[in-house]
C-alpha cells in the first residue's frame, strides 16, 4: 500500500510542478515526473512476489513470471512520453527564440 501511495505522491508532485512553475523547462520536468509515476504504477501492478522476469533461458523454463503485459504497455508509454517531450522542447526552443526567455509570464500574447 505504501508504495502505491508514494507513487501517487510522485504523480501529485509532477502535477503541482506543471501547474505552479513559471519556467517552460520546469513544466516539462513536471510532466516527465507525472509520466514516471504512471510507468512505475503499471510495473508495480504487474509484479508478482517471488516470480521471475518473463524471459525463458536454459535455467528458467517455467513460471511463475511477472505480468508481461504492463511491461509491454510501459515500453510503449516510454516512447510516447519521449515523443511528446521532444515536441514540447522543440516548441520551447522556438518560443525562446521569439521571446528571449523561458518565463511563461512573459509569453502572453494570447488571452486564453
Amino acid at each position: 500500500m505504501i508504495l502505491y501511495l508514494l507513487c501517487f505522491l510522485l504523480f501529485l508532485i509532477g502535477l503541482y510542478g506543471v501547474i505552479t512553475r513559471r519556467n517552460v523547462i520546469k513544466i516539462v520536468i513536471g510532466l516527465v515526473f507525472m509520466e514516471f509515476s504512471v510507468f512505475l504504477l503499471l510495473v508495480l501492478v504487474g509484479y508478482v512476489e517471488g516470480a521471475e522476469a518473463p524471459i525463458l533461458d536454459e535455467t528458467i523454463i517455467s513460471g511463475p513470471f511477472v505480468d508481461p503485459l504492463p511491461q509491454a504497455m510501459v515500453l510503449t508509454a516510454i516512447v510516447i512520453g519521449l515523443a511528446s517531450n521532444a515536441m514540447l522542447l522543440a516548441i520551447a526552443i522556438r518560443l525562446y527564440k521569439k521571446y528571449g526567455t523561458f518565463d511563461i509570464r512573459k509569453i502572453n500574447e494570447l488571452k486564453g
Binding site: 502535477l15 513544466i27 509520466e35 504512471v38 504504477l41 503485459l69 516548441i91 509569453i107 486564453g112
Partner: protein, 512 residues
Amino acid sequence: MSQLIPLFVIIPLVAAFLIPIIGKFLDGFQKVLTSIAFLGLSVLTVYFLCAGPGEPLLYAVGGWEPVRGIPIAIYLVADGLSIFMLMITNVVGFLVSIYSISYLKRFTAQNNFFALLCLMMGGMNGVVLSGDLFNLFVFMEIAVIASYALVAFGIEKQELEASFKYQVLGGIASVLILFGVTMLYWKTKTLNIADAGNILRSSQDRSFVIFTQLFLITGFGLKAALIPFHAWLPDAHSSAPSPISAMLSGVLIKAIGIYAIIRLFFNMFTLSDEMAVTITALGAVSMVLGSFLAMYQWDIKRMLAFSSISQVGYIVTGVGMGMIILARNGDHRVAALAISGGLFHMINHAAFKGLLFLNAGAIEHETHTRNMKSLGGLSRSMPITASTSMGASLAISGIPPFNGFFSKLIIIIAAIQGKFYLLAALAVLISIITLAYFMKFQKYTFFNKPGARDRKKIKEVPFAMCFSMIVLAVLCLGLSLLIFPGIREVVLDPAVRVIMNASEYAPSITGL
C-alpha cells in the same frame, strides 16, 4: 466485410510514411496522395454504412482467439457508433485535404503538413475503431501529437504560444487518461473494453469506480475542451491554419473527447446517477459560458472557437440527459431521443463548424485579417464565401430548414419530455444568443460598408477552396434529411442502439 476494417488505419498511415520519402523528389505528390487516400477512406466508410450488417463487426488483430472466454488480442470494433464517427472524420478530412491544396500555397514544408494531416487522420480512425483501452490511448496520442505540430505550423509567436498551452494541457490530459487506464487494468486485469465492462458490472467497489471515473472525465474533458477545461481551445483553434482549425473543431475534439467519453461511460462503466449529472452539468456550463464568451469576440476565429465550446456543450448535454434517464431507469424512448439529438448535433456541428472555419480561412486568405472591425462589404467581392457562410451561420443558430434546427429541436423536445425544463430553456436561450453573434459576424464581415482596405484586390478564393465550402454547405442542408425515418435508420439508429445497450455491446465480443 470485417476483413476490411484495418484498412481505415493502414491507408492513412501508409500515405503518411510515403509522403516524406517520395514527396521530396516529386512536387505535388503529397497533395494528390493525401486527397486520394482520404477519398478512398470516405468511399470505404460509405460502403460500411450502406452494406453493414447491423451488428458489431469484430476483428481480432493477429488472429488470436479468446482463451477460456477471455479476449487476449486487440479487438477492432466497427459498430454503429464507430461507423458514425468514421463518417464524420473521413468526409470532413477529405474536404479539408482538398481545401488545403490551395490554402497552403503560402507556407513552406507542405510535405510535413500533409504527412501530419494523414497521421492525425490515422490516429482518429484508430481511436474510433479500437476496442481496447490502451490501444485507444496510443492512437489518441498519434492524433494529438500530430495536432500539436499542426497548430504551430506557421511558427509565428501566437501559434507557438497556442501550441505550447495546448501541449501542456494535452500532456496532463494524456497522463490522467493513462493513469485511469492503469487503475482499470489493476482492477479488471484486462484491457478489452467489453471484458472490463463485464467485470466492472459484477463488482461493487464504488470508491474505486468514482475515483477512476473522475480521472478519465478530467482527461477526456480536457481533450474535448469542456468548461472548465477549455483554456487551450480558443488559442489553439484561432491560431492554427484554418483547415486545421476545421479539423480540430469539427472532428478531433469529438473523436478523441466526446466519443471516448460516450464509449467508456456508456459501454464500460455501469451508469451511475452522479456521473451522469456531472457530465450533463459540464455540458450545460460549456453550452452557456461558451456562447457568452463568444459574444465579446471581434476576431472571427476566436468567436468560432468559443462557439465550438458552446456547441460541444449542446452535444454533451443531449447525451448526458440520455445518460441520466437511463441511470434512473426512466423512459427509454426519451433517452434514445436525447442521445440521438446529441449525436445528430455532433455530425451537424462537424459540417457547419468545419464550413465556418473554412470560410474564415478564405477571408483571411484574401484580406490578411481576422478582425471583424476592419472587414466589411465582402458579399460582393466573395459571393461564394458569403453565401456558404450565411448558410452555415443560419444552420448553427438553428434556423429551419438547415440541419442545426432539427438537432437542437430534438434535444429540446427530449429535455421537455424528460422533465429537464431548465436545460430546455437554456438550450432555447443559447440558440438565440448564437443567432445574435452570428448575425454580428455576418453584418460586420459581409454587409457593412467596406473597410479601409483596398477593395479592388479582393476576389473569390481558388476553385479547390470553393469546392470544399460548397460541398459542406450542401451537407448543411442535406443533413436535415436525417430526420426522415428511412435515412435515420441507416445512420443514426445503429449508433444510438450501441450507446443504449451496454449489455449488447459486451456479449458480442466476449461471448463469441
